[in-house]
Symmetry: C2
Subunit: 76 residues, 2 copies
DNA sequence: ACTTTACGTCAAGTATCCTTTACATTCAAT
DNA sequence: ATTGAATGTAAAGGATACTTGACGTAAAGT
């Protein structure tokens, strides 16, 4: 199960640096970097904050990719 | 920042025991109990799984309550 | 009475998220 | 060439999520 996200795009859309975004969210810059780079997925509270900051939803911001190896039929 | 959820209601709506739900999600029963009891919020991946299991969204399943007491950080 | 099912607690350990510090690179200004 | 802003890496430690196992309670059905 992979978890991609559109944080970079949204951050740039809002003209924020990683530093500024981190500050706004009350987390460290490293956290932003790690999430953008896909090193780990954020906690649910942080995911909520991110979505809120970008006026979108968690589902829109984070893309949940079911990784089923062997399965080829894409449903949805 | 509080994070309530409707896991109990949805679980019962789907006629699942905590044990069965845990099994379905691939987590321990303790994890379900802790989430339902509000001891902590789930990880984002688990939140996604829960929402998916109940055919709903994270935003619907988890209620994000902005806590407005004693703001320390002047952000922006 | 006994068993089963479901829900709950507690505690100790592992895994993952997040912070902090320090340092490196790139690019756009001087 | 140097400065500053923005992005990146790495590593150690702290905080939170999750597991495992042991145990308690209560209800429902033999």
């Amino acid at each position: 199960m992979l978890l991609k996200n559109h944080v970079v795009e949204y951050r740039k859309k809002y003209g924020l640096s990683q530093d500024r975004l981190a500050e706004k969210l009350g987390v460290s810059r490293q956290t932003i970097i790690s999430i953008e780079k896909g090193k780990y997925s954020p906690s649910l509270p942080l995911a909520f904050l991110l979505a809120k900051t970008f006026n979108t939803t968690i589902e829109e911001l984070f893309v949940f990719e079911e990784e089923k190896k062997g399965k080829r039929d894409a449903k949805q």
